[in-house]
């Protein structure tokens, strides 16, 4: 089975999950005895395309057009679907990123190719691909297979590995998309970048705070710890609903799902809705006064103590240890 991987770039840089998608597609194609081609869309993207070789792409199709500098749902759908139609692969891999989750359904409808979204594992079996995906906010795992002729999968960021091999460069084919004015029925006209800390879904480390912090200004303790670790700041639903923190920091069933390598839950009791959003983190640390808090049931390391006492000490110790 031949596989196409959508390699997402923004501002002329590949996202980490683009590398994850390409490498997962490479592994799946190898297991099924097929080829893997990466596709990148944007302005002047042929310049960055060779770098995907390090992640297993021997061949990259660079779809270039100055009008594609910013994302456009409609134009990207048309341009990418056209490549997929020409290449006629057996499967297409997307990242389950904000762009991938927007793009993949439209491509799915265009091509009549069903999509298994937000997969956390994909394995080859009997010449087919079987995907594992969390459902009910991670309270259950579904094993699924796609039965349409072209099978599409999107991959949860931070779950699949991306290891760069030295020196490999991909061969790049540059194509110009056939796009008319109508294909830009929706388009991004500007991007507002949040300054400062990384996004909770992309960060390797997330430090989250809950209602036990007692007041919004006490989130300074969370921010200080996050900054010494280069981490993102997360929040429980309670503190977002109380207006202490912005919506885009909320982790849980009605917020973001995160899979960092380290999740530090501070003064968060661990309601089932919160656990749903972070239980796939590789290591979990909990700091909470209440020894019976459910968060301790899933934490790898816990301190049953007061955040006002523990967090300043932890920030100080890390500053020392990490030489900051």
């Amino acid at each position: 089975m031949n596989i196409i991987a959508f390699a997402e770039q923004r501002d002329g840089k590949f996202k980490k999950f683009a590398h994850e998608t390409v490498q997962a597609a490479r592994k799946a194609a190898d297991a099924l005895g097929g080829t893997m081609t990466a596709v990148v869309i944007g302005k002047n993207v042929s310049a960055i395309a060779p770098g995907l070789g390090a992640y297993g792409a021997a061949r990259v199709i660079a779809v270039e057009d100055d009008r594609l500098e910013f994302y456009s749902t409609t134009a990207y759908s048309k341009a990418f679907s056209d490549v997929v139609s020409r290449e006629a692969p057996g499967a297409v891999f997307f990242p389950a990123s904000q762009m991938g989750k927007d793009l993949a359904p439209r491509v799915s409808a265009r091509l009549g190719a069903a999509l298994a979204p937000d997969c956390t594992a994909i394995r080859a079996e009997g010449g087919d691909l079987i995907a594992t995906r969390p459902v009910y906010a991670g309270k259950a795992l579904a094993e699924v297979k796609v039965t349409t002729p072209v099978k599409m999968f999107s991959l949860r960021p931070n779950v699949f590995t991306a290891t760069a091999a030295d020196g490999a460069q991909a061969a790049v084919e540059t194509v110009k998309p056939e796009l008319g004015e109508n294909d830009f029925a929706s388009k991004v006209t500007s991007v507002k970048v949040s300054e400062g800390r990384p996004d909770v879904t992309e960060a390797g480390i997330v430090v989250s705070g809950g209602r036990g912090l007692k007041a919004p200004e006490n989130f300074k303790l969370i921010e200080d710890l996050a900054d010494v670790l280069g981490a993102a700041v997360g929040a429980s639903r309670a503190v977002v609903d109380a207006g202490w923190r912005p919506h885009d920091e909320q982790v849980g069933q009605t917020g973001k799902t995160v899979s960092p390598s380290l999740y530090i839950a501070c003064a968060i009791s661990g309601a089932v809705q919160h656990l749903a959003g972070m239980s796939s983190s590789k290591y979990i640390v909990a700091v909470n006064k209440d020894k019976d808090a459910p968060i301790f049931q899933i934490a790898d390391y816990g301190i049953v103590g007061d955040v006002f006492d523990v967090l300043p000490a932890l920030t100080g110790e890390l500053k020392k240890t990490l030489g900051k």
Binding site: T73, Q98, M99, D102, A104, P105, R106, S108, A109, R110, A113, A114, L115, P117, D118, R133, P134, V135, Y136, A137, G138, A140, L141, A142, E143, V144, K145, V146, T148, A185, S186, K187, T189, V191, K192, S194, P198, E202, H247, Q250, T254, L262, V272, V285, Q297, A299, Y301, G302, I303, V304, G305, D306, D309, V310, P312, A313, L314, E317, L318, T321
Partner: protein, 248 residues
Amino acid sequence: MKIVACINHVPDTETKVKVGADGKTIDPAGVNYMLNPYDEYAVEAGLKLKEQYGGETIALSLGPDANKETLRKALAMGVDKALLIKDDSVRDSLSLARAIAEELREMKPDCVLFGKQSIDYYDEQVPGLVAEFLGYPSVSVAVKLEAKDGNVTCDREIEGGHEVVETSFPVVISAQKGLNAPRYPSLKGIMAAKTKPIEERQAKPFPSGVEVLGISKPPAKSAGKIVGTDASAVPELVRLLQEEAKVI
């Protein structure tokens, strides 16, 4: 303006999931259902557009009779009409979106609103599928929506920021938390919703493209190590994170 909010009836967020006897769906026993939380933002956005443009708001839900409860909630919030596309089968998103698009094609709405995803299967793909089937532009995970004449400007959430998207009616928009503050149904609204008719049509069948082979509970994580009870445990915690977990 004709505004349709597509809403779903989902297990509430407190639900403790048990695998059903078929091994492919959850055991429905003891599960309470609710209006999908993100869909409240979609309904509110629809009501606001009607305040701005006039016209009518319609809540549409595809599913069994039980979905009427969720349609009544939308009626109580103030939508003009409710439509149940009746369906007792289990569908994947592709099949569901085809059936919804089939209905919408006849209704010719100016704006179709969804919650960004249902909190049951977490597919987050029906809005985009429906938009493509209708040939409408779409904006997903909208956290801001401004309409002027025929033009629509949305902020959509991306990693580490927002994209500003410009498009025009007719359009499909999926709502993210933060788009607005959904209104609480008034007592009058709740009373009126009880007697408002819910129109029913039979959903058209379409094949599914994703087959569920089985569902299971994720492997239970065992509780870890309690390192201490105050700040004196911090050096040991840092040591574990560096030497055992190797994450910092």
